[in-house]
């Protein structure tokens, strides 16, 4: 079972966990991204996330499919938020359940690492004195 969500609403971590929980599973690994107050020593005011929505959902599903074939995991939820996020808010939640924990850890880490490389979502950091699209320039 794979559950993919791209939403402008706040993400619900407990709901993600409940989606993957199962009596066949011995462990769940959950990764929760949170908005940091500082980046490279500079105070962040807020973040703005933008997505190429249809393609982002497709790529998120691809990654979850790959994780399913690479590791013996049971259920995967990948939820990503877009729009304006304040410090401490949650842009991404990844929950993976498996019979044995190693697979859950490996798959969860693979998903967040790959998501950050391939899913068409962009983050703009807004500072007091300007803003920058993260990773855009060398």
């Amino acid at each position: 079972m794979i559950d993919i969500l791209l939403s402008t609403e706040p993400l619900d971590v407990s709901y993600c966990i409940s989606l993957v929980q199962s009596p066949e599973c011995g462990g769940i690994d959950v990764f929760i991204g949170t908005v940091r107050s500082q980046t490279k020593g500079k105070q962040v005011v807020r973040l703005e996330f933008e997505a190429y929505e249809r393609m982002a959902v497709k790529e998120m599903r691809k990654i979850a499919d790959q994780a399913m074939s690479n590791w013996p995991v049971h259920k995967i939820a990948v939820h990503h938020r877009t729009g304006v996020l304040q410090i401490g808010e949650v842009p991404v939640v990844i929950a993976v359940s498996a019979a044995h924990r190693d697979a859950a850890f490996d798959a969860c880490r693979y998903i967040i690492d790959t998501l950050k490389q391939t899913v068409p979502i962009w983050k703009k950091e807004v500072f007091e004195d300007g803003e920058v699209w993260v990773a855009a320039h060398p």
């Binding site: 991204g33 993260v134 855009a136």
Partner: protein
């Protein structure tokens, strides 16, 4: 043919809007499109890199563009 190119993230800032129309010859590929875009929008060349998506999939340099394709500029992603 005239094609529509969607822009996201910094590409939207470079284009100054969410999509642009551009005229390219039939049968041309992604490499041609990028060259043409970079001529009109030289700031694209300042990016760390950028990809082109055709119909919601990352396209190769040699992918040939066709009328009706949904084409998008994908600057370096930074989700998560």
């Amino acid at each position: 043919m005239e094609i529509t190119v969607l822009a996201f993230g910094i590409a939207k800032d470079i284009f100054g809007r969410e999509s642009i129309q551009i005229e390219i010859d039939e049968g041309r590929d992604v490499t041609t499109l990028k060259a043409s875009l970079e001529q009109h929008y030289p700031k694209l060349k300042e990016l760390a890199s950028y990809m082109v998506a055709v119909n919601d999939e990352y396209a190769h340099a040699s992918t040939v563009l066709q009328t009706g394709d949904e084409i998008a500029i994908i600057p370096p992603v930074s989700g998560g």
